[in-house]
């Protein structure tokens, strides 16, 4: 295995009884990059993270993180990684500062350094007002930020974020994404799991799509989008507007000829076509009145439909295969 990769996994297999959580997963993230693991609930994302963070030994296969084997070098590896799991794992009966100082001490940073890091991080995560308040008084968003701060206490070269934005309001979510981007800019390698393509799209240099314990596609977000079909423009015209003229006006922007369904024009947008602004200008020139116009980004469902021919089945239970949902594909 090459040491250019900060995260490198080959053939990871993990079963729980009869259930195969991972059925041979390969992952690669170059140092300083962001790898997004995209997949529905139960796809095996969390299992992969638990193996890569030494919490769980794989049944077979091997993985190296920061050049260290996750099984043989587990102890040494733990000082090189930070983990923010699906639950905000903070001690509710400690203050924000105490939480981070404790984590610093457990990373063996020493008392003074731990205190200093705690102060720095609380400030950076806009928790300085809440430094000496017990974490149980924190809002969900504040807990999440504290949890992420804990993962960064030792400024580890590789961090693992398991669905870091689950349950966050849009503002907290935006803050968190900005923070992660900041870390990446400083050279940290990030492995991030998510259920939303949007998030993977924004953060990840490369994306591995996982389903039923297997990587079913990998590539940059542009590459994946190309397979999904990119963005779709949806236009509702005002009454009395000439539909044919509007369609002609939009043809140069579209991958294929725009179709009209239930009075809504739908077209897959060509890359670099100028987006919604260009569409509005052309429709205006053609004299078409716009009632509503929206750019719909591909969702996880779109990715799954494109890759597997079925919807992502977010809440699918074990053994309950659903038929490909036509209404979603429509």
């Amino acid at each position: 295995m090459s040491s250019d990769y900060a995260v490198e996994a080959e053939g990871l297999v993990k079963s729980y009884g009869d259930v195969k959580a991972l059925a041979g997963v390969d992952l690669r993230a170059p140092a300083g990059s962001v790898l997004g693991l995209l997949g529905p609930n139960g796809a095996g994302k969390t299992t992969a993270v638990r193996i890569l963070t030494t919490l769980l030994p794989p049944d077979s296969g091997s993985a190296r993180v920061a050049g260290l084997d996750v099984v043989a070098d587990a102890t040494a590896l733990r000082s090189q990684i930070g983990l923010a799991g699906q639950y905000a794992a903070v001690d509710e009966n400690l203050t924000g500062a105490e939480n981070l100082e404790m984590v610093g001490r457990l990373y063996h940073l020493g008392k003074a350094k731990s205190r200093e890091r705690a102060r720095e991080l609380l400030e950076r995560f806009e928790l300085d007002e809440a430094t000496d308040r017990l974490a149980r008084t924190y809002s969900g968003g504040m807990r999440r930020r504290l949890d992420l701060a804990a993962a960064l206490v030792a400024a580890p070269p590789v961090i693992f974020l398991d669905e870091p934005t689950t349950g966050l309001d849009p503002r907290s979510r935006a803050n968190l994404l900005e923070t992660i981007e900041g870390r990446v800019a400083e050279g940290t390698t990030v492995l991030l799991t998510t259920q939303t393509l949007d998030e993977a799209d924004r953060l990840a240099d490369s994306i591995s799509v996982i389903d039923h314990g297997k990587v079913i596609a990998e590539g940059t977000s542009d590459e994946l989008k190309a397979r999904v079909g990119g963005e779709r423009l949806e236009v509702t015209l005002t009454e009395g507007s000439q539909q044919e003229q509007a369609i002609e006006a939009l043809v140069p922007l579209a991958e294929e000829r725009p179709a009209c369904e239930n009075g809504i024009l739908k077209l897959p947008m060509r890359d670099g076509a100028g987006g919604i602004a260009e569409a509005v200008r052309r429709l205006d020139q053609a004299g078409a009145g716009i009632e509503d116009i929206a750019l719909r980004r591909p969702t996880l469902d779109d990715v799954f439909i494109a890759l597997t021919g079925r919807a992502a089945e977010h809440e699918q239970r074990e053994g309950e295969e659903r038929e490909p949902a036509e209404e979603v594909a429509a």
């Binding site: 030494t54 919490l55 000082s79 799991g85 794992a89 984590v103 457990l106 063996h108 804990a150």
Partner: protein
Amino acid sequence: MSALQYAASDTLVLAKRNLARIPRAPDLLISYTVQPVMFVLLFVYVFGGAIELPPQFGDYTDFLMPGIVVQTMAFGGFVTAIGLSEDLRKGLIDRFRSLPIARSAVLAGRTISDIALNLLSIVIMMGVGLLVGFTFEANVLEILAGVGILLLFGYAWSWFFALMGLTASSSESAQAGFIVIFPLTFASSAFVPPDSMPAGLQAFAEANPFSTVTDAIRALWLDLPAHTDVWMSVVWSVGLILVLAPLAASRYRKATHR
């Protein structure tokens, strides 16, 4: 620092964290302060007059205090059960295990903080005991030896609670430990002389480690003949630790490998 020094430091950091919780959670603080006081007062004044004592005991307070302190020691670890099962549920154990700490630190930190809490309970209970008429017939060394045996026995039960906390799926079921400890303490010499019990129960009470430890404390603190009780208390405690600690450690590994 050496690996051993790191292990000690990790354990202390985690023990400190466990203890920080107590004054911040009023229900827990009450169970280590008000509750023992309440038990002493209830037993002394409610049962005190009704129980016929062997002649070597001056009054029921002298008879009761060693027994009730032993019972309190056994229960002291309940906070370990609650704490561990919460830490598992809330993902803190995963966080700790992803950190470069000694494998033993989480469980050692828990059980060691129980020792500090048990010491607090002993001081409070014996303070109240002295106020309601308990008298030591012992020198400082004998008193301290008694405290040492109490803490060792309490430490053994902390491992029992650690095992419960890691096995039970919630804090509530972790408290199922009480179902084991309550009958054991009452079917012993802790509160009444076993010879007042029916024959079968009496035999059980005499073989019960709670009787052994209670009688050891009585021997040390009330200047009574110890027979084998003092060293058998140590044997029981160490034996319990040798059985329960590896079980808890193995449970910990399994619970965290899900």
